[in-house]
Symmetry: D2
Subunit: 406 residues, 4 copies
């Protein structure tokens, strides 16, 4: 049936003018980075439920991440978090990764878990603390050099909880100063991705509260600084794909931290709350690739797709797999949009025709297509089933409880 | 100047038809319960900043809480959380409290920090876990009997993170079953206050998500069950004072967990984000006291005012003091509303006149009034200043770091 | 290809244990009521863009609505709004409808467009205005009797814009009094559906602000009063399907006003913002039908599905068609959930398995299924295409501009 | 008593180190522009309640606005909206204004009420419509020249209702092109204030959705373009004063449209929902004036304070008066913040001390201060009372119903 399902699908898409070979090429070329910390324990402020089998160190995290890549074929790199993944011997970690068929991806500094950062890190009014934070940032640049990573992914928990608590404008300048120094330390190949967040853990003001603040800062720093969009870091009701299109047009979209949210920064499995939103994000990216200026097209081609989740109650590896599969699925659907058809409807100001041309692509079942792609790249056609039957989940139980967490 | 300030204030209010003696009586009669856990360490999922001097056990928590009562005169009881405040000898705790001039207030069961509750406590599909949860609830009823408390304050973290994860309707029934058994175990003097919450830690659905669900459950349980309003547990934009007025009219308002929020359940100092909202809540309560039916008036007179906060970055005792002072301040302002004036404007459908009659009371400076009240009840006129100069904060530093936390 | 697409689909679903004949039965049995006012002009407070061809009177609205039924086969009734659809001769309207193959559905009173209602209708402090409002409600009961409708659908714009403006508790009682009188006037076959709304046009408090207030009122009125869920009338982030499941369990879910929103009550085409939410609503309903008590099953079987939209910028008939098609699509997808599979995963507390069992059904392409259903009931397989080619849209242009609007 | 109240207040503030003479100077220097359209009828999409006595033309609007200035002394200019205030003879209008003691303030183009703008004005895909829109903008520049106004205040309703409806990136460029032409037409004295809005009337995407988009556009246009902050145009939970501080630091804060909201863009009386927010906005501005760089100080000194409201149910002139009085009140309170004290607490990272230093100023009753200021500038000490007793409201009833509206 599967073959026939694909045949029917192929005919259907051909009739719509979709070049499936190109679609498959794109699906094979997609790279989704998974985060080392997504394999460890995490939770809410109320409770971190410790799971058995969680990796105890960066090496084990890479082993788990390698499973995801082995099963999906699109997750060849793994983001690391310093100091969570700190090690005496990065060469060994790099080699370990290589042996597992993966590599070290974005380097994520951590500026929110030291006692000194209670009132901020790079925005702290105490210069000694700002310097400590800056040194950590520079250390991360060095680690990136060591491990051969060219992406530095920055999220700051910095902000305040009460009106008057701190000088908002001064903090803005301090952050710019620290990042300027970090920027200068980067090699020309490196990119600094600046993340913003609406709130949490700061509850009155967050120093980088929205895309506009991250964008303005990136502009001041230079061409190697770009904006990182975490899909869960917006006010309720925000049109995220609009921000994506906007940043692409400004050639400043660095990458994504994918996850889902219904309320705040819930960090749920990607695509589990509103899969249509993820599809619409990809629609904007593909549209930019197709019709943007050279700079815009270059930007669209160089987006760092990364997952950033917190699996509070679900098993970690399957949760990551589900996220990667959901990303692949929505990307596949977006690739079925006939952009010419959309443009024609837009040009005749046919609201419903244009909406339909986009939405219809979302309604196709891309399972046959993804099965075909998987066969062609030599990964299991049903990665989740293969994983669950593989015994890997059982094999790691011996790690016990109390592994890495944040 | 202080005396003259009060004289001017008195004349001003007299001219408005406000009976200051009655106002002062009300201000002296207000009781605000502080929570034992508000004196311990707490934080966000990202970091709990441990503070030096935090109480190491329930006895020390009561010592800190007693400071707040000593300084304000309106915090004679302290809510406890089981098992955080579990002790082998509740009589000793009770006596300790009495010696400090305070008493044990609401008993709060904890159904969110055991590993078994990962998928729910009283709504867990596993009957053994539901039974465990139920037994804890019954244990709390027993503890309430032992310590002489007549308020059981229930908050459930129960909910799900994903569509389909669990059977929403079954869970509703399970919760009702467990609470029915708990309800039956209560003595006739006891009240069960049922709290609701919009989200967190559950991110897809929360079993008791809003006042309507808590209210319906309380109705089914009986007259000793009432709704507990936590001011931070609503969707953005919710009119909390409307819910307060509604519950009063239904004679089902059990009490409050006061705190502030700008975004989600931020648990900040009461009155620090939108003090006007707190004032408007008190306006509805005072209006119900003045013009409600006998049942409504009784309800209004029996509200349990409690604080429930999480002081992530600020010193605990001063944060609690500030909250209590802010509650006193907004209550004082609400007492200055000339309700007759409001009614007259309402009766002539004078929108601006009615709004003005309410808002004007908010604009008065009640500092002279509160100083007078404090003098009359024999507490410091400036509780915060007295606290900061008292040396108490320094004296507890010897407790070290790493005290009680959640 | 279409035939083969269906064959492949059929095999696939059979393999999953789905009885497609039952699914098709359900799809044929679905009834979605369209609103007369959805065919007229409407817009925002900034501008109503008048379209050419908009119906000039209730008779023409029914002609347009009949097109939607003719093309979809699932829209046999049309809701009316009084006085917008007021006529001297309801028998004539009824006959006109019958000749067109449709009937008159829910009767919707209008209590927000008379000058007297500036401060409320049934909650107005002026008894004369409350009486006027009440008389209108009774008039609508009479109209329902005349036209043979058994559904009265009530939405109140009543509320206030400023704190203090009115007595919230008195208004609550006044509303209950008026509805009690209306309730008594209904025949035993009639149902009163009570709608709630988070805000707009009232900006401080809305008398029926949420499902809890509508539910409590319906409970007080009696078994013929139920709650009407408008999918756009909630706070941001609200889990609407949870409310649906809750009301079903209480046997108080009267019906829906379907539409989409990204921000407030945007009244966009159903399923155009988050189609997954619509699917999850149907999942809860189908689950209640399958596993609920007799009362719950009865409730689920008697839900009034209605559309309530405002097509500000798009052509009216195609917009309505799109909405109906989207409802049919999401209902079809929900029918593909293997509820046994979900239950089994739920029973073993397999979060990801249960989520997958639900979500997977959403990912199927139900176009072949819906084509088959349409063929079997004798409507066009592509209703939108048929409509656009039918010339109907052109034929009504002669109505000119300036038709019915609100 | 009034005198004594002021004496007590004066002593109190002196003791706090506040220079009341400077405070009074600032209070006298504040200028708040009222909008001509705020005196006319307006409402919601459901109903515009027409009031008796509403001005029938721009001349009468200026008469009403002049009342507000006469009574408050701080509203010397009146914003106009084209074409609502279009006239054959602007010199006559200018003279009329001068005779009334007021002047013509910001010129507001209107690009949302022509049928052509159904799919956008300056972002419309039809070049002819874009040109029409551009010509209107240029016309407004001319009008500004004619009437001697140097502020052009731009709000665009442009956006889309559905995914795919239009090309988001192209629209971004089209807007920039049109505004570039408008910018070039301005005289060197003129400023272009660019407003943003989260949503409404566009419900999917709004071309200028947030401060970041307006800011980036203003940056591209040049130094005469700045951002206009409408306090009601943000997502729920947005920290508006943070945006204000941020824009000040970038020297790009052009002005405000003041109003209040609880939910969406409710356009209620300023300061009626959360007066503390308004106070905190002024705190940021005063802090920038005190401690900013020269450029920042200049920006803070040149903010255009404007009111933009929609008085749906309340009498227009008193509603405007109330708004102006509320602005004056919160500004007065903010002037009582001892900024040195705040800084000192900030410098020692004393969260509660800094919060207290800000919040305490909010709690003072500034009525005696404002009465003193009013006496000194020769306006009534109680402007609302004077207005209500003046008979002006009655005198304009002869205008009848059906005056200007939008």
């Amino acid at each position: 049936m599967s073959d026939r399902a694909y045949q029917v699908f192929e005919e259907q898409q051909k009739a719509r003018g979709i070049d499936l070979e190109k679609v498959k090429e794109k699906l094979k070329a997609l790279k989704v980075e998974t985060p080392s910390w997504g394999y460890g324990d995490s939770g809410t402020r109320f409770k971190v439920f410790k799971q058995q089998g969680v990796p105890r160190n960066p090496f084990e995290k890479f082993e788990d991440a390698a499973q995801v890549h082995k099963l999906t074929g699109i997750c060849p790199s793994v983001a690391i978090h310093i100091p969570w993944d700190k090690t005496d011997d990065y060469d060994k970690l790099k080699e370990h990764a290589a042996n597992l068929g993966v590599s070290i991806g974005a380097v994520n500094p951590n500026l929110f878990q030291e006692d000194e950062y209670i009132f901020g890190s790079v925005t702290n009014s105490d210069p000694a603390i700002r310097q400590k934070a800056e040194e950590h940032l520079l250390e991360c640049v060095d680690i990136a050099k060591t491990v051969g990573s060219d992406v530095l992914s920055l999220w700051f928990a910095d902000g305040t909880n009460y009106p008057g608590q701190a000088d908002i404008r001064k903090r803005k300048h301090w952050m710019q100063e620290s990042l300027t120094r970090m920027y200068r330390a980067m090699t020309p190949e490196m990119r600094m991705l600046i993340e913003y967040k609406f709130f949490e853990p700061a509850f009155y003001h967050t120093d980088l509260a929205d895309w506009g603040m991250a964008f303005n800062l990136a502009n001041k720093l230079g061409p190697q600084a770009e904006v990182l969009v975490d899909t869960g870091h917006h006010a309720q009701g925000t049109n995220v794909e609009h921000i994506v299109a906007y940043l692409l047009d400004e050639e400043k979209l660095g990458g994504f931290h994918f996850n889902s949210r219904k309320y705040a920064d819930d960090d749920l499995i990607v695509g589990s709350v509103n899969p249509y939103e993820l599809f619409l994000i990809f629609y904007q990216i593909l549209d930019a690739e197709a019709t943007g200026s050279e700079g815009v097209r270059n930007n669209a081609a160089n987006i760092a797709y990364m997952i950033d989740q917190s699996h509070a109650i679900e098993p970690k590896i399957p949760a990551m797999l589900r996220s990667v599969l959901n990303v692949h699925t929505q990307y596949a659907k977006a690739l079925l949009i006939n952009l010419d058809e959309v443009k024609e409807a837009q040009d005749r100001q046919d609201v419903l025709g244009a909406e339909d041309a986009v939405r219809r692509a979302f309604e196709f079942d891309v399972a046959p297509l993804l099965r075909a792609v998987r066969e062609e790249i030599g990964v299991p056609v049903d990665p989740m089933k293969t994983y669950l039957e593989s015994g890997y989940g059982q094999s790691i139980l011996s790690r016990g409880k109390g592994g890495a967490s944040w």
